[in-house]
């Protein structure tokens, strides 16, 4: 086997092996050395309480910042700095990679751009279709008839299927679209430095202030080409219509992203985001054969700029659809698959480590820190819920009479109970925060849904168990065994 492949395979095995190693070690310990197992479980429980408190505090801070910045007049802000920075030269390229989406799903995304407070004559929009979607030409024509002429540039691109070296990924489609847009930009003689590209999921509705906010940050941040710009993703498009189970999952996802926005040293692009077009071209566009293109693009840039690349959080929202289906079970399956696809971001670890091995300029400390952060976040994701929910009670059930007469045998359920009580307090905070981010209730929705939206938080333990760690462990196991995932776009409704 080629040495590079051996290294890659080794790196692919590490996250899954670590997660499974931790789980099996703790199960063995809990079954055969229940006292030692209980000590580790109590230590982990305590760690998780502290961590939850810390992260909830960050969430509150992020909320505070979001509400403070959401109402800022970003147009006035960028205009005020524009006299020196010449904002007028800037163009926004917005790419919507789409596959199998119908016009009614894509239309609100484009309407949100039309409703933006930013000058549409500075916007270039590309609807990026997959040629293997039989209806794509019809959909493109319908949307072109409605939206062509409303922006500085509007075009539809059709990504051919089966290009050499490509996978059926969103990144391949976005890259094709970006190359088509590049031809348009070249034809207009626009400098790549003056173009900010935003790659949005097909159902992304940007806030009316999004581009103004993005422009301000692009103009004011030092070295804007060495940064990605990450808005807060919320799932408000259909949140009042979505079933409670799916709603809770997506609100929690938004919260996690808000928490991440406060941890800049770990912050990585996710879902819809923006960056310099020049940088995108320099680093060779999005990966065309990886599922987690939204985060890999960050690491590509990070390696390209020798570690001098960052993500700037934008405290403005982009709203997407909650993924749900016609039945409870189908919704769970859909959510599970979506979370597993997100967790497939673990493929970033071998990608980054291989980049670090090739690199000679990034400091070793930086490599260790970033590599550890990435590995730790994925391993923690895969094991925490399993440790708390499934392994935690094992010593109590299987410890036997000897364990039950030990002081630790008596204290373990009490400490575990304390953990859940504490989780209730943080859940209460999350409930209050979730209410404040909701869009106005549509008229056709009964007011009783407000009550349901609070009551549905009792589902959290179930959600933790089903969608907490399992999809991440599934993804890591697949990567470990070399059973690579294909990009499976989530059809958000139906």
């Amino acid at each position: 086997m080629d040495r590079a492949i051996k290294i890659r395979r080794t790196l692919e095995i590490i996250p899954g092996a670590l997660s499974w190693g931790i789980i099996l070690f703790l199960i063995t310990l809990a079954l055969f050395k229940p006292v030692a197992g209980a000590v580790v479980i109590i230590a982990f429980d305590f760690y998780w309480i502290i961590r939850t408190a810390y992260l909830t505090t960050l969430l509150v801070m992020a909320y505070h910042k979001l509400f403070r910045e959401r109402d800022r007049d970003w147009t006035a802000e960028y205009l005020s700095v524009g006299q020196k920075k010449d904002w007028q030269r800037l163009y926004h390229l917005v790419i919507f990679p789409a596959y199998n989406e119908e016009p009614q799903t894509l239309r609100p995304s484009l309407e949100a751009l039309v409703g933006s407070l930013y000058d549409k004559e500075k916007m270039i929009v590309v609807m990026a279709f997959e040629e293997r979607d039989r209806n794509c030409r019809d959909t493109a024509e319908i949307l072109e008839n409605e939206f062509k002429g409303r922006f500085f540039g509007y075009q539809s691109s059709f990504h051919p299927d089966g290009l050499s070296g490509e996978g059926r990924t969103k990144g391949a489609n976005a890259t094709w679209a970006a190359k088509k847009a590049r031809e348009f930009i070249d034809s207009r003689g626009i400098d790549y430095k003056d173009v900010i590209v935003s790659c949005f999921d097909a159902d992304t509705c940007a806030d009316k202030n999004y581009f103004a906010c993005l422009t301000y940050h692009f103009l004011t941040s030092g070295n804007p080409h060495q940064a990605s710009y990450q808005p807060i993703p919320v799932y408000n498009n259909n949140i009042w219509q979505a079933p409670s189970f799916a709603r809770i999952v997506e609100i929690t996802s938004s919260f996690c992203q808000m928490i991440e926005s406060m941890r800049l040293e770990k912050f990585v692009t996710f879902s819809s985001h923006s960056m310099s077009f020049k940088t995108l071209v320099d680093i060779g566009y999005w990966p065309v054969d990886m599922v987690s293109d939204d985060s890999v693009i960050y690491w590509k840039a990070y390696l390209h700029f020798k570690g001098d690349y960052r993500v700037i959080p934008l405290y403005t929202t982009v709203s997407m659809d909650v993924a749900y289906s016609s039945s409870f079970f189908k919704t769970i399956v859909k959510q599970y698959k979506q979370k597993r696809r997100w967790a497939w971001g673990v493929e970033n670890f071998p990608f980054l480590m291989q980049g670090f091995l090739r690199d000679r300029e990034i400091s070793v400390i930086k490599k260790i820190r970033r590599g550890f952060h990435l590995l730790e976040s994925h391993v923690t994701w895969a094991v925490w819920a399993i440790i708390i929910v499934l392994i935690g009670p094992l010593p109590i059930f299987f410890g036997g009479a000897f364990f039950n007469q030990m002081a630790i045998g008596y204290n373990l359920p009490k400490i575990t109970g304390l953990l859940f009580n504490f989780t209730l307090i943080t859940s209460f905070t999350w409930i209050i925060l979730s209410r404040t981010i909701l869009p106005a209730r549509p008229k056709e929705i009964s007011w009783t849904k407000n009550v349901l939206m609070v009551a549905e938080w009792v589902l959290v333990p179930f959600i933790i168990l089903v969608l907490g760690s399992t999809p991440a462990l599934d993804a890591q196991t697949r990567l470990m065994l070399g059973r690579y995932m294909l990009f499976n776009p989530t059809v958000k409704r139906g």
Binding site: F46, Y54, R263, N404, M406, A407, L412, I415
Partner: protein
């Protein structure tokens, strides 16, 4: 660095400090250690976990009142013997000597405190000889000492109904057994069996009238319903017999007993009688043995015995042929 990032760093360091400082205390406490501030070291201690029914009782350990009411846990106890006393007003106190071991928990989690003023309520209005409580229906059956009738009543002294009026007498003590189908009640004393249909109108199974019969000269040790709800197996001081639940039925002796005061158990699910009896061994000595008598009509000789009985023939004692 932005202000938020500075706050975050402080928060992170604070969280890390809480974790690393708090963890040794939590783990040592979980393992049963207590910190001795004078000696500046940890000592392994034990604890006592107490739960009472009802809760809210005061706990005294070596005559000292412990903070908090039950359920409670007394922690950080040095190994040794303690006198534990639990007190709740209007309830009898509970006390025990407790040995506390290092790193272990002494569990007293099934303590029931019984009230000093018992709530006793009279349920019948007559002079009662004996009673049986049907827990499935919440009905009390009792024999009136005056008229010897069997009455039934609910727990609120209402719905009083005489269900059986027989002229015979039952001595004390009277024992009661209901058939598996819940339709017939068997009352018996040392000499007599009385069968009472509980639901004369709507009852299923064999239709019988109330009857009482002096069936034996020997004292009845125990009696059981067969699973067919029609035969009654009864054990006297000398025999094991069976009788049908009708007034003109004659008992059939299945086996003779050598032991006068035997003890027996009837497995109603398997229709099997277990009993104790004496038998002389080859060495001439008498031994107490446990015997099993299969009375299942599907698998045993009992069926044949019943046929024989119907034909007016005698029985065979398998134990003493």
């Amino acid at each position: 660095m932005h202000r938020e990032q500075k706050i975050r760093v402080v928060l992170f360091l604070l969280s890390a400090a809480v974790f690393f400082i708090g963890l040794p205390f939590i783990l040592s406490s979980a393992l049963g250690y207590r910190f001795n501030p004078r000696a500046l070291r940890f000592t392994k201690a034990g604890l006592i976990a107490i739960k009472t029914q009802p809760a809210g009782a005061s706990v005294y350990l070596d005559k000292k009142l412990i903070n908090g009411k039950t359920p409670t846990t007394i922690t950080e106890l040095l190994p040794g013997r303690y006198h534990l006393r639990i007190v709740l007003e209007d309830y009898y106190p509970w006390a025990a000597e407790v040995d506390v071991e290092a790193g272990k928990v002494a569990r007293f989690e099934k303590i029931i405190l019984f009230p000093t003023r018992l709530d006793i309520e009279k349920l019948n209005s007559d002079n009662c000889l004996s009673f049986w409580f049907d827990d499935k229906r919440g009905i009390v059956y009792y024999i009136n000492r005056q008229d010897r009738g069997i009455y039934k009543s609910d727990l609120n002294k209402e719905d009083l109904e005489k269900i059986c009026d027989f002229s015979g007498e039952l001595g004390v003590p009277v024992r009661w057994k209901v058939s598996a189908d819940g339709e017939k009640l068997l009352c018996f004393d040392a000499r007599r069996l009385v069968v009472v249909p509980l639901h004369p109108q709507g009852g299923a199974g064999v239709e019988i009238s109330p009857f009482a019969s002096n069936i034996t000269q020997e004292s009845i040790v125990d009696a059981f319903w067969h699973s067919d709800n029609y035969h009654i197996i009864f054990v006297t001081q000398k025999n094991i017999s069976v009788v049908e639940a009708r007034s003109d039925s004659k008992p059939l002796i299945l086996a003779a007993l050598n032991k006068e005061n035997t003890s027996c158990y009837y497995d109603a699910k398997a229709d099997t009688l277990y009993f104790l009896d004496l038998q002389q061994a080859a060495d001439g000595a008498l031994y107490n043995n446990i015997y099993r008598l299969d009375l299942n009509t599907r698998f045993s000789a009992f069926k044949e015995m019943l046929k024989l009985r119907t034909n007016g023939q005698g029985h065979k004692d398998k134990k003493n042929p």
